[in-house]
Structures are given as structure tokens and as C-alpha cells.
Symmetry: C2
Subunit: 386 residues, 2 copies
């Protein structure tokens, strides 16, 4: 039996992870849970999975949760220190890191330093401090298993083959909700429209990232560090159907790919139970029913965020962290109706241009760049004509 | 450096294998070659690759070859005994088994018994005596690496994953040259037309097998023994583009697939150098250039040979050997213009119906069934109205 901690248990990945625990109660035990501010759902999860310790990053939500759980012996912490404590202090084999955005970095690093294997669902830790994360993972003798469907696909396509034989890694991208829109149409698109992802049901932030292709830009950075592959060997391909989750090309021109219906429970369970697979009672992929799979090149003109991802890696150091922070600010502003869709990439680019990248020697360097870029991006958002 | 023997060096697989040796002269040394009757090409190969020993199954061709090679020290043998001697007596790490049809069985088994790893390109040994072949391989501590593009794809898709987690193996089939023809049109199709394979340039026998789908029927039998998977877990799917070479579905509904442009040098080199991959300077698969991959179910009505493959496994014992022999006779008759395309499946089915299957306890049982079925199929061919 594996003991797990879930950072971000009330989100999409978190609830899917608990669904797997539910299906395989003899395989997993939940030791700790953390969430942002959803004390109602966390209470339900506490009563169902009986963790010893939980935390909410929002202190007032933590206060509410303590009220809700007066009859329970669960320890309830608050704030980032609370998250870090759940991530590190708890006895656990595996920490599922599924906090949305940059907030996941510190708790995930704390989990690594306390020698827990990581099932990594949030890309930001790898984007903000990928090199550092991998160095820490090596130092503490733990493994980081990707949960993102694309990186899980690459991970699965690398298993049993030699990393030295890899020629290219090819990330697939659905193209998001706005793939068919013209440049002009993209200018005036609403947040509601941009949130209509064709294949995956995900959180709002990642759905917008998918529509801008920034999601793929972030994934390129993530892949670079997860698999220690230079960006020149990472390609991106549009695949509208999201069936081929990603591919690896080897030196002999053989390609290995991982395919499946879009359901996060498959990559989550693989990371949770690696190298074994759980007999998930999910619909089988029937390619004859789907009939056709299509592939095309990304459009760098309409969706400039993908190139920003590559650019951030070429510059290196804190640049990916700055890019990520600017993106978070810009996406939030777009969701709130404060900026246009096409402003997102402009704000990220302007922030990157203004950023002086330096080495990520420690977590503070990444967090400093994150803070700086957030402020810069905020000022850019406010400078835009309403 | 690996020392190799090629059984069937003048055929399509044989020449491709030697092309790889040519590209990587420091990786491989050719110790022995065998062919059927093409003494001219074998002479060229002898002068280029300098094997110590060769054999031709046609004795008069062997006599001609001896004349051609008077200036060389190569040992030239003839007949099946010659083939067996090259397969077994030579010092070699790997025997590439690429003889077309049932003639490959005895030499391949001889190679296994002399403790050489096998790169298996001809399906017939596995079809005729798969269980026996695997038992012998286990007994002599050698491995059988598939070369067939579909089985190599499955082999590559199984590497690094647990065989106990496999849910299904899915063989892809191009559908062959006649996939779009109606049942009526199939009746009168010419051999010339049936030989126009859409994707692969192969020998005549296998190209007709591809058009009848018997090739896939044989591959189902081969997969059953190569991977020790019951036929109920083996599926077949039509994939016209021959890009996805085959797939494995695991218990968590994750599918791993191997893809590539149709070039036999990729699976051949993988079998030759397993688990390493050779940096083959071949065109890369660009899915964005191909654009669309299609998948559909096989048509059991127009192409009944696929079901015969499954049927032969359900009955078991010598039935696959009988089916294979009847197919060889029927395809040869079709190529000679003696029977119609649709007669091929009728002759195989009638031969199978007349065959009393027994256990393949030894090689003779398989060879007896092979002989019996050939005679039966011949008589059925001759009984047809001209």
C-alpha cells in the first residue's frame, strides 16, 4: 500500500487522484491533503479519505474548515507554511503535486527535500526552477513522475528505450478552443468562448493557456527539464483530436507514441503506481470509431506564445519563471475581462523583454523573478487602454 | 561487433539487412549467407561481405555458384542440409531468418538449437510450429526478435512495460492492394493488379497475402506465439497509411504504439542491435506532412482469410501449419494464373475443413501437416474449372 499526499486536492487533478484512490482502496492511503480556499470540498474529502493532516492556503478558509471539522481529529494548517508542512512533515511515499500556478513551487520543493517521490501535475515548478528541481531530486534520490498527459506520454514512450537513442520529442497540442479563428477574430474573442476546450475538461487557467498555446510553451520548458533534452530536440505538433498524447522519435527513425481517450486518470494512475498499471475501468480507445487522426504544424503568427516558451529556454535562467508569472497575470486579467485575448502574448513578451535574466541558483532567485514579473505584468495590464 | 548469418540473403529482407551491415561495418560481420536459387546476386554478396560459408537450396544454382567463385575460399553448400549447416554450424551471435514460406522452419529451428538468437522475418516458422519454437528458444536460452514491422512495433511497444498489464494487442493492416474493390470485382482481379501494394515494396507472395488479408491472419498466429498472448486479446484494424505499425493497449487504457515511414530497415536494425538503436540516415516521419491517419474495421466478408487465421488458432495443433501450406499453394496458383483471387480463401478453407489437426509435438508433425495440406490444396486447385 502506498501512502500519498495530494497538494491541490480540490482541483481537477486532485479530485481525479482521489477517484483513483476510491477505486483502489487497498492500493493507496491518503496521509495529507491541501487546497486553496475550498473548505467545503476539502471537508468532504477529509471525511471520505481520513487524512491525518490538511492545509488550506487561505487562512480564513482554514478557520472555516476547523469549524466544520470539530468532530474530527484531523490537523488543519493554514498558509504556505501549512502547505509546506503537509508536503514535507507527513510520512508519505508519493506527493501528488497539483497546485495550479506558481504557488506549487515551494511546497513541491519541500516534498522533494523530504525525500518523497513526486507525481508532478503542475508545470510551474519545472518551468520556474526546472534545473534546480532536478538537481534536488537527484540529491535526495527521488523520482519526479510527470502527470501532464503529454509528459506522461513521453515518459511512457521512453520507458524501456535508451535516452541516448532519442532523436526528438514531439509534444502534441489540441490547438485549444480558438484554433480555427483568424487573427482579427482572436482580438475580440470572449473569455467564455476561449474556455470551450474541444477535448479536455480542465481548470480555467490551463484552458486559456491551451487557447493561447502558452500551455505548450510551458510544456516545452517542462519537457526540457523533466527529460533533460535540449529545446532543439523538442517539437510541437497540432493534433486536434488529443488522442496521440505525445511521441518520441529515436535515432533509427522509429517513433513510440502513447495514445488514449482524454482522461487524466490514466496518466495520474501511472504516476501513482509506476511501473505497474492499474486496471482502470474506463472506456477503451477504439481508433476505428474515431476513424481519423489529423496533424498539422502550429501557427506561430496567430499563437505567438509557443515561440515565447522556446525563447525563454534559449535565454535561460529566470526567464521561464518571468514568462510564467507574466502569463498568470495576463490570463487572470483576460478572465476578469480586463484585457483582450491578443493582449496576453503582448504582455508576456513585453515583460520578458524588460526582464534581466539571472541564474536560478536557489529558489529565491526564481521567486524574485516571479514577483518582479507579476508586478511588471500588472503595470502593463493597467497601462492598456480600457 | 556482432557476427550474423542471414537465411534468405537475396530476398527483400536479406538485401535490406545487408544494407544495414553496409552502413555500419564496424557493428556487424557476416559469417554466413543462404539463398534459394539466385546464384548471381549471392556471388555479389559473397564478394562484398566475405562470409566463410554459404548455401543455396537449389543444387544446380549451387553448382553455378561454385563456378563463379572459383577464386574465393568461401565454402558453398547445397540443399536443405546446406541451409541447416549454415544456420547451425557457423559461429554467430544472431541468425536473421528471412526465407520466404515454410522452407524457413527447419533451418530456423536448427539455428535456435545451436543457441543463436533469431531475428525472425519470416512468419511461417511461428505459424507452423510457434509453440515448439518458443519452447526450444527457452530451452536453449535464446531470444527471438521479430522483424515483421507489425510484430516489431508490438515488441517495441511492450519494452519497458509489464506483459501482465497488457489488455490487447492491435495489429494494423494496410488492407492491401484490393481494399476498395467490391466482392464481384475481387473475383476477376488480375495478379498484376493484386501485386500493387499501396505502401510496402515486398516479395510477390507476401504482397498477395496482404491483398487477401491472409498476411494478417498469419500475423495473428505469429503474435500469439511471439508474445504468448491468447488470440482473444489480439485485434486487427485497417490502417491504410501503414504509419502506425501496431499498438498495445494496457489495463489502464493507455496505448503504446510504434510509428514510422514504411522502411524495413528500422525493424531489421532494431532486431539486429537490440536493445540499442542504430542512427539510420533515413527520412524522418513527419506526421504534419502526412496530415491524416485513418482507421477502420476489417471487412470479414470480402476478405475471409483473416478469420481463417483466428480459426486456425482456435482449433490449434497442426491447423495453422495446414492453413499456411494451403495458402502457399493457392497464392502460387493465383500468381500463375491458374485460379481466381477469390478461390484462394476457398482453397484454404476447404483444406482446413479436410484437415485433422493434431498436436505439434515435434517438427515432423508440422512438416507432415504442411505436406498433407500442400497435396490437398494442389488437388483442389486442379479440381477447379479452368
Amino acid at each position: 500500500m502506498k501512502t500519498i499526499v495530494i497538494l491541490g486536492s480540490t482541483g481537477s487533478i486532485g479530485t481525479n487522484t482521489l477517484d483513483i484512490v476510491d477505486r483502489f482502496p487497498t492500493e493507496f492511503r491518503v496521509a495529507g491533503l491541501t487546497a486553496g480556499s475550498n473548505d467545503a470540498l476539502l471537508e468532504t474529502q477529509i471525511r471520505r479519505f481520513k487524512p491525518r493532516i490538511v492545509a488550506l492556503s487561505d487562512p480564513s478558509a482554514a478557520t472555516r474548515l476547523r469549524q466544520r471539522c470539530l468532530d474530527l481529529s484531523v490537523e488543519i494548517l493554514a498558509g504556505q507554511e501549512g502547505l509546506v508542512q503537509v508536503a514535507s512533515a507527513t510520512e508519505a511515499d508519493l506527493v501528488v503535486s497539483a497546485i495550479v500556478g506558481g504557488a506549487g513551487l515551494v511546497p513541491t520543493l519541500a516534498a522533494i527535500r523530504s525525500k518523497k517521490h513526486i507525481a508532478l501535475a503542475n508545470k510551474e515548478p519545472m518551468v520556474m526552477a526546472g534545473k534546480l528541481m532536478q538537481e534536488e531530486a537527484r540529491r535526495h534520490g527521488i523520482r519526479i513522475f510527470p502527470v501532464d498527459s503529454e509528459h506522461s506520454a513521453i515518459f511512457q514512450s521512453l520507458e524501456g528505450h535508451r535516452i541516448t537513442d532519442v532523436r526528438r520529442v514531439i509534444l502534441t497540442a489540441s490547438g485549444g478552443a480558438l484554433w480555427t479563428l483568424t487573427k482579427d477574430e482572436l482580438q475580440d474573442v470572449s473569455a467564455e468562448r476561449a474556455l470551450q476546450h474541444p477535448n479536455w475538461k480542465m481548470g480555467a487557467k490551463i484552458t486559456i493557456d491551451s487557447a493561447t498555446l502558452m500551455n505548450k510553451g510551458l510544456e516545452v520548458v517542462e519537457a526540457r527539464w523533466l527529460f533533460d533534452i535540449p529545446e532543439s530536440r523538442i517539437d510541437v505538433m497540432i493534433h486536434r483530436e488529443s488522442i496521440v498524447h505525445s511521441l518520441v522519435e529515436y535515432e533509427d527513425r522509429s517513433m513510440i507514441a502513447q495514445l488514449g481517450l482524454p482522461d487524466m486518470r490514466t496518466p495520474i494512475s501511472y504516476a501513482m503506481r509506476y511501473p505497474e498499471r492499474l486496471p482502470l475501468d474506463l472506456p477503451s480507445l477504439d481508433l476505428t470509431e474515431i476513424g481519423t487522426l489529423t496533424f498539422c504544424k502550429p501557427d506561430h503568427d496567430r499563437f505567438p506564445c509557443l515561440d515565447l516558451g522556446y525563447e525563454s529556454l534559449k535565454i535561460g535562467g529566470t526567464m521561464p519563471a518571468a514568462m510564467n508569472a507574466a502569463n498568470e497575470v495576463a490570463v487572470e486579467a483576460f478572465l476578469q475581462g480586463g484585457i483582450r485575448f491578443t493582449d496576453i502574448s503582448d504582455i508576456i513578451r513585453s515583460t520578458m523583454l524588460a526582464h534581466s535574466a539571472r541564474e536560478v541558483e536557489n529558489i529565491e532567485a526564481a521567486l524574485d523573478a516571479d514577483r518582479w514579473a507579476r508586478e511588471k505584468a500588472e503595470s502593463l495590464v493597467h497601462a492598456l487602454p480600457r
